[in-house]
Structures are given as structure tokens and as C-alpha cells.
Subunit: 322 residues, 2 copies
């Protein structure tokens, strides 16, 4: 990193920090005023683990922010502000830092998030971006992972599996994909779409919720464990995009569609009495939501195949470093 930390912050990121409490990033800390509950989350992404070294640098900035906004959406919270910790490799061209800042600026505006502060430092290792994001709850109650109840429906937003196909495409393992499929799938991998608009539906109706980052099966299991219940999911009902359906048409089985992760959809449970309201709400905010199973007494999460037998699924496998 040729320029020193102070110069980098001032020239690239200070213009993004327009919130008064950010003090133009020219202070040791930010000061924010809160009246009530604040939802706080932090997620880091590491080159070679959560993104590829040759992913466009603007998309790295966006992904770092979006994976955090996805957590806020899953908690029924509206994004408010973020802190950026940028750990920049000595070997990476510093002119990419301007493109990183540009990508971040676009998404801060797109999702109406204020940059409140941050830190930049050099590393001998891979590019690492750690973001802390702050949100305001849209309802009084912030849905936990621990509140699923037997009898609840299990729902998921959007579609599952596209990020894996994007990764497969980039790795050259889906050479016969149509061009449109390639583009869509890569976009889902590099710039996942956090379901920010759906946060108000979650806030109103979800008992338990989580964002799908480690794979649908693994994240369903987290709800099951935290809630002390069992989740039964029917594989055939899991929403797949056109891209994933195209992949399935050319391959046997599901591959890693259901357990590779990086989907950044919202998996949640809700009482059956809210079915109509959730469907109407989903239409109103323009994010698809689909029922994929039920909460039962018991333990663990099972995804049942078309034959009714539990599928053997993993999770976390999208971590390149493993």
C-alpha cells in the first residue's frame, strides 16, 4: 500500500461519509444517536475463501456490504450505517482501491446506508474486508433463530443455488451453460441481492429467521438447534431460478444447489395463520417467498427428496479455503 492510511481514508472514503456522526472519517470514532434498539452485525469476506482473487474489485466491495445487509434483512431491520475495515494486500495494485471505493459508494447509495467510519491497513495476506452494519428494527420484536414453533411453515425468499452455479461457471465447470445463464449465475455469486425490501415482512410475521449463507440445509439446522425443534423441508418445493432449472435439465440430481450456500436469501418460519399475509406482502415488496416445509417437534433439519427419503447434504463447502 503506497499511500499511507490517512491519505487513503481522506481521498477515497471520506467523501462517502456524509453523515455528521462520521466526522468525515477524520476522527478516532463515530458518534451516532440512537433512540431504542439497534441491530448490529459483522461479517468479513476473505479473498480465496469468500470471493475469488479475480472477481472485479467493485463486486468485492459490494459483496462485503451486501452479506451484512442480508443479516439485517433476516432480522427485520432497515439498514442505517456501516463501518468498513479494509485490509489491503501489499501486492495488490493500489489503483484498484479507487474502484473499490466506487463500488462501495454505489451500494451505499443504492441501499441508503451511511458510512460511519472504518480502518484501513496493509497485509502480506489476501484482501480481507470486514464490515459492521447497523440497522433499525422495523417492528418492536427482532426475530431470532430460536423462536421457531412446531406447526410453523418454513419459507424461503428468492431462489436457491445460483451462487454455486456462478462459482462453477467461473471455475470452468459448466462450460455448456447458455450465455444468459452464465451472466445471471456469476452475478448471483459476485453481487448477491440482499432481501432488504423483504425485511418488513420478516419483522411482521416471522417467528424464527436466518439468512442463507452457509447452505440451506446447514442454516435450517441452525434454526432447528436454536429453537429446539425439527425442520422438514421438501426438496421439490425449494425455489430454483431458470438458471438452476437449466442446470438440472442437463445434469442428474441437485449437485450442490441446495447446500453450497452464498444464497443470501431469508429462511424463516411463521405461523400458518400468516400464509395469506406473507404472500400478499411478498408481492407488494416485489420479493418472491415460497413455502418449503414445516416445523415439527424433534431435532435437526431434514431435506426430503422426491422419494421421501432424507437427502445427504453438507454446508460450508463454498469456502474456497477448505
Amino acid at each position: 500500500m503506497p499511500a499511507d492510511e490517512f491519505d487513503v481514508i481522506r481521498s477515497l472514503f471520506a467523501p462517502l461519509a456524509t453523515h455528521a456522526g462520521a466526522r468525515g472519517l477524520a476522527d478516532d470514532a463515530a458518534v451516532i444517536t440512537v433512540d431504542g434498539d439497534l441491530v448490529v452485525t459483522t461479517d468479513a469476506i476473505v479473498e480465496g475463501v469468500h470471493f475469488r482473487g479475480d472477481d472485479p474489485i467493485e463486486t468485492v466491495a459490494k459483496k462485503a456490504l451486501r452479506v451484512n445487509l442480508s443479516d439485517l434483512a433476516a432480522k427485520g431491520a432497515k439498514p442505517a450505517g456501516a463501518l468498513l475495515t479494509l485490509i489491503w494486500p501489499n501486492q495488490r495494485p493500489s489503483d484498484e482501491m479507487a474502484a473499490f471505493a466506487r463500488g462501495l459508494a454505489e451500494d451505499l447509495e443504492r441501499y441508503d446506508v451511511a458510512l460511519w467510519g472504518g480502518d484501513t491497513t496493509a497485509t502480506t495476506g489476501p484482501l480481507t474486508v470486514s464490515i459492521t452494519a447497523f440497522g433499525l428494527p422495523l417492528c418492536e420484536r427482532v426475530p431470532a433463530r430460536a423462536d421457531a414453533k412446531p406447526g410453523d411453515d418454513v419459507w424461503v425468499t428468492g431462489s436457491i443455488g445460483d451462487a454455486w452455479l456462478g462459482f462453477e461457471t467461473l471455475e470452468g465447470r459448466w462450460p455448456d451453460a447458455a450465455e444468459a445463464c452464465r451472466t445471471c449465475a456469476i452475478a448471483r455469486y459476485q453481487t448477491p441481492e440482499p432481501r432488504v425490501a423483504f425485511a418488513e415482512i420478516v419483522a411482521r410475521y416471522a417467528n424464527a429467521s436466518i439468512d442463507v449463507s452457509d447452505g440451506l440445509a446447514a442454516d435450517a439446522a441452525k434454526i432447528a438447534t436454536a429453537s429446539g425443534v425439527a425442520l422438514r423441508i421438501e426438496a421439490e418445493t425449494i425455489p430454483l431460478s431458470e438458471v438452476a432449472r437449466a442446470w438440472r435439465a442437463a445434469h442428474a440430481g441437485y449437485g450442490r444447489l441446495l447446500d453450497w450456500g452464498d444464497d443470501y436469501e431469508i429462511l424463516f418460519t411463521a405461523g400458518r395463520e400468516h400464509r395469506a399475509a406473507i404472500e400478499t406482502g411478498a408481492l407488494a415488496v416485489g420479493v418472491a417467498a415460497k413455502r418449503i416445509g414445516a416445523v415439527q417437534a424433534g431435532a435437526g433439519a431434514r431435506v426430503l427428496g422426491a422419494d421421501g427419503a432424507p437427502m445427504v447434504l453438507g454446508g460450508h463447502a463454498h469456502r474456497l479455503g477448505r
Copy 2:
């Protein structure tokens, strides 16, 4: 990292997350309730840049927290909570993670800080610890870097230069140091003492303040720039520990005592009318504070040697990676 993220969090860090809003770290986000201003800061430390690869792992955990608590103290805020992002090298023995958690637990208790959440991930690069810390202002106003006024005194807490001597000792460049000096200096480098108790003095009397991390000269220059004033500091008045005086007795000049950084002292300016109150307050909280110069009209920070001529000082040089 042999164990998966979820297991690591649950077994090591969840017991530290006793605050209800942390949800036992078993959720996507923490929920904290705030009534008024929240001071928020984030600082990352990277192996080979901010600490040495062979520093005891407990001290790495402590240093990561303490550099953030130092920022809060410089803003006159009492620590409340923290988020930990732990980016663990694939190659580092995972049993060190328990020692890391132990070191962190000791300091969370020592400084009365709640662990509100975090993230763990693997890396092919160096150990990296990013912490976001939250504090509550002890007075209504949170001192900025930008509020130094001509006529103010310049003050600094504790003593300057010991961290550099600790680093020199670890690098084998101060072989003739007395054993007591070695021990003290290394402790200042590995486990700096954030001036948490002094925060209330800063909150009450400081116009501008900053924590000394990048070197006294560089950090004084940041106050000067942010405030649009000049800082004049007399080198002879800068407080040195016994260790630093021992080093000076055996060497010519100051070496990097005044500009190497990592001191984590508080540098602040205050009106002359507060001299007596600051001295009394410092005694009461048990943290030394010393007047080392004055704020004047003009620009930049100068440290004047015994001959009255400005010394040539750097900053940031403690970054090993540079």
C-alpha cells in the same frame, strides 16, 4: 481451521457473550438498546504489521481489544460492548484459539466490556483480528480532533516510546537492557494499557483529543490539520518512562521514541483555565498527565528539541509490513 465456524463460536466465545442482546452469539445479529449517543470505533490488527507472529496469542487478543478501548477513552467514552472478527490462518494451530479466547475473556472482564457478537473465518494469510467497540459518552460532548483552539495547552497521558523499546527488545536490538526494562517494554508493546480511567477527564476538559497510535508527532499533526491550528510541542517535556530514560542514558538522541507509535496514550488539548482541574483529576483517576506544549495559530505540528529547532520525526514506522 479444523473445527467449523459454528462450533468454534459456540464452544469458545459464546460463554463470553453473557449480554442478553448478544443472543449467545447464536444469531445473525445482536440487538442492543441505546438511549442517546453511542461512540463507535473499529480497528484491526494484522500479524506482521501490528504484532509479531510469535507474540503470545493471549496478548494478541488483548491488544486487539485494547487499541479499540484506547480510541473510546480518547473520545471520553466508557466502553460498553464489542464485536470480534477473528480471521484465523489455516496453518496456525487451532488449540491456540482457546488461549486467544482466554486472553479476550480476561480483558472483557477487566474493562467491563460485553461481547455482543462477531464472525470467524479462515485465511491463507496472517492472523487478523478486527474489533468494533462501542462506548457511552461520559459527558454530553464527545471531543473531536477538530476542536483545538489557539491558546490551549497540549497534554499527554502516561509515557511515550515504550512500545518501540519493547519492539526493539523483541527484535534483539537492545541486548544490553536490564531485565526489568525488557519486561516492562515488551509489556507496553504487547499489551498496551488503554487509558480508560482517564476518559472522564477527557470528556470534561478536552477541546481536541486523539489516541497516540501512529506516533506522537503524526497524531499531533492530525489534530493540527483537523482543527486548522498549529501544535508546538517541547521534546524535553514529553514524559518518558524509567525504561525510556534508561535507553536514553545509553544512546544518543531519541531514536524512534517520539514517533514510532503504538503508545495508546491520549494526546489532547484543553484551555489553560483547566490546568488545575486536569492535574487534580489525573491524580484522582491514577493516570499521569503532563503538559507538553501549546496550540497556536498556524498549521502543522512541530516537536522542538532542546536547542529550540524542530526535530525531524516520522510516523507509522511501527508497521512491520512497511
